[in-house]
Amino acid sequence: MNNTALKDEILLQVEKPARYIGNEINAVMKDRNKVAVRFAMCFPDVYEIGMSHLGIQILYDMFNRREDVWCERVYSPWTDLDKIMRQEKIPLFALESQDPVKNFDFLGITIQYEMCYTNILQILDLSQIPLLASERTQDDPIVIGGGPCTYNPEPIAAFFDIFYIGEGETAYYQLIDLYKTVKNSGGSRKEFLLEAAKMPGMYVPMFYQTEYNEDGTIKAFYPIAEGVPETVRKEIVMDVTDTYYPEKPVVPFIKVTQDRVVLEIQRGCIRGCRFCQAGQIYRPVRERDVETLKEYAVKMLKNTGHEEISLSSLSSSDYSSLQELVNFLIEECARKKVNISLPSLRIDAFSLDVMSKVQDVRKSSLTFAPEAGSQRLRDVINKGLTEEVILQGAHDAFVGGWNRVKLYFMLGLPTETEEDIRGIADLCNEIAKLYYETIPKEERKGKIQIVASTSFFIPKPFTPFQWSPMNTKEDFIDKAYLTRSAIMTQLNQKSIKYNWHEADVSMLEGLLARGDRKLSEVLLKVYQKGCMFDAWGEMFKNDIWMETLEECGIDLSFYTTRERELDEILPWDFIDCGVTKTFLIREWEKAQNAQGSPNCRVQCQGCGATVFQGGVCYENQN
């Protein structure tokens, strides 16, 4: 056990001191004098969120398999500790060794959502590392970013030395080797970065330059150092079975969001919903071998002692060996008294049967994500879920004893009309009506409870909607009111509860998602004015953001509500994620004609992901 970086007096003053002490089961301890490279792996949010992230556990395990590397974890200190650390000038530390992050070789930051960008600055600042990459010296760690937001890294480009585009399993060892070679030969930070920039998947922003047109759009984007490539192709693991996976994930002492064993059954999604970024950037779908997954399940339950196991993927129902895996888990878990949680399952006879076995029907709810209220709009977004299928699923579930239904929708989708929005209310009402028609009065166990939630549509890079205008905040709010009043006029309105997201934060997420390098100044300033934990509703300070945008001369509508021309150079165009622009344009045009596209297994859409030479694209060709 190491001495804690924080004295007892501090730990006893802050909420949940267990966030900062390390020492968890399966945390990896090494001798700091016997490793060559120290890597701090950070999730820039509070411990309970960061510890729930599978990606970090995978990379943590992967790095620590190397004897010469010690990878440790870092999370955002909550605001109570943040204040004390600033007052007492305590440098941010990694959990395992409790040593300051500033003395590490690397600080890796996983970037999962746009609203954590100010938290990245908090991490750098508390670590006492210069916020701007251009101001870092030989003594500072190499700051490297990964995760979905790196598919448009430009708004935060100024704060990172390297972005690793794609899946971490493939190129990190090579990068570490390169680092050791350069370091041992006395090379400088810049020399290392230049060599790194030539590696596949590595984007080193300082070696690229942007020129702008007068209207603010990009005129040109190009490398400014010899040998640095013009485009960066994402890294991807083609064999997801024979790769790194943590058999002994770290077990937190305190309750975290994902307090269970997580089995990642596949990567990618065959569906191609047009609003969904994950569905595009993780192409092609690659499945893990079911026998291997069974072994992992057994080992991970044994090594963690968790009382719950969950499957993870974008669309579990599409996993080819789902039945086999689930049946195995049901048997295994019944013996071990372990709960099974099965998110993202399509509601059908199989899933209802499974759910009735693993959970208490009266206490659980059915989840549907139609995303749009009318069939026309569902065709626009290519969500292949029809009203018929939803009602059939609901019917079967009601017969099976369920009476709680959750429905998820989006407002502000391209081509949306008032009629589409009213469709949300109609669909909710239909489901309620179906319940009363299906279940005779004397058999009802309470009323039907429908919860409809809407979020606001935010166009994301590398989706067919990347050119789409986003709604204004006023439009969003009007649409939420329209949804509410449409629900209120339904016959079964008393059975329907309606929730909607905040519009302010959605606008900023929209700004950052498709932003460019000009936004780094805004981020710096809002951070300096005290913005942090923007993803936490109660911490989000919209006024400061708005005021700062104005100070920096940034027009929110340029980034959000403006329709982009198809030939405009987009800030993320230099990244090659496999999916081609031609395909995205084709999909964008089909969307405007409300024309769906079949999924990868029904008919290949020629998206471009065949370049990776595997996965679903080659499933039926031996």
Binding site: A18, F253, K302, T304, K337
Partner: protein, 233 residues
């Protein structure tokens, strides 16, 4: 079969609260693959009873909880298996089988012994040991206790069973039963009030040394460690 387990909690583990300790042991018992008894239903849980909850920031040499097992090799084996599933700072000290008629750990607690000292820099001036000794020897020690609704004065003295001041630390045995659960800090705060001292929240470093149950012997109530009513096999 009912089993009583004694453990110590030291170092950084003192920052893990009571509910999290329960979760910790449930997972540890699974890792150790103990054949433990579960309740029925959709989310089965282990039958478990903890003795007196320990506050965050306190270390202990004498914590207890009970579990039920369907089978086991012997006490020593169970102890070893559990110890191999522990994190730094938690050690299983003993494993005992309880007689069938034994009350559960929580209900059996009668008293607890603590070692209390002042953290560096927080010691009161002067000969505090002598003053404290005199304070504790009074017949009646009135303290204010805040309940949800009101503040109540009550006499602490009957709940103090014994004390001893050795150098810079105080060994204190107090009532820890459900009817009179006394925190050692309460005693020190009463002392501070009597001396018109302000005692910082962080002034005291407290270690629980033992948790006791009571039994009658020769018509007298005596305290014995919670695991003394069990036996090994």
């Amino acid at each position: 079969m009912k089993i009583r387990i004694k453990f110590s909690k030291t170092g950084v583990m003192k920052f893990i609260g009571h509910l999290d300790m329960m979760r910790y042991f449930q997972k540890a018992i699974r890792r150790a693959e103990i054949d433990v008894t579960y309740t029925g239903g959709y989310s089965p849980h282990q039958v478990m009873s903890f003795a007196a909850p320990l506050g965050v920031g306190l270390e202990s040499q004498g914590e207890y909880f009970d579990i039920e097992v369907n089978s086991m090799l012997n006490c020593e084996d169970l102890k070893q298996k559990l110890n191999s599933a522990m994190s730094d700072g938690i050690e299983i000290l003993s494993v005992k089988i309880l007689p069938d008629d034994a009350g559960n750990a929580m209900a059996s607690v009668a008293a607890a012994k603590y070692k209390i000292c002042f953290r560096k820099g927080y010691e009161p001036d002067g000969n505090w040991q002598q003053i404290l000794q005199a304070f504790l020897e009074q017949d009646c020690i009135m303290v204010e206790k805040e309940t949800k609704k009101s503040k109540k004065e009550f006499n602490l003295k009957p709940y103090l069973f014994s004390w001893e001041i050795i150098d810079n630390s105080v060994i204190l045995t107090v009532d820890a039963s459900s009817s009179g659960n006394i925190k050692p800090s309460l005693v020190f705060h009463a002392y501070a009030v009597s001396q018109e001292l302000t005692l910082s929240e962080f002034a005291l470093q407290v270690t629980r040394l033992e948790t006791y149950t009571s039994k009658m012997e020769d018509g007298k109530q005596i305290f014995i460690p919670l695991d003394e009513i069990g036996y090994t096999a």
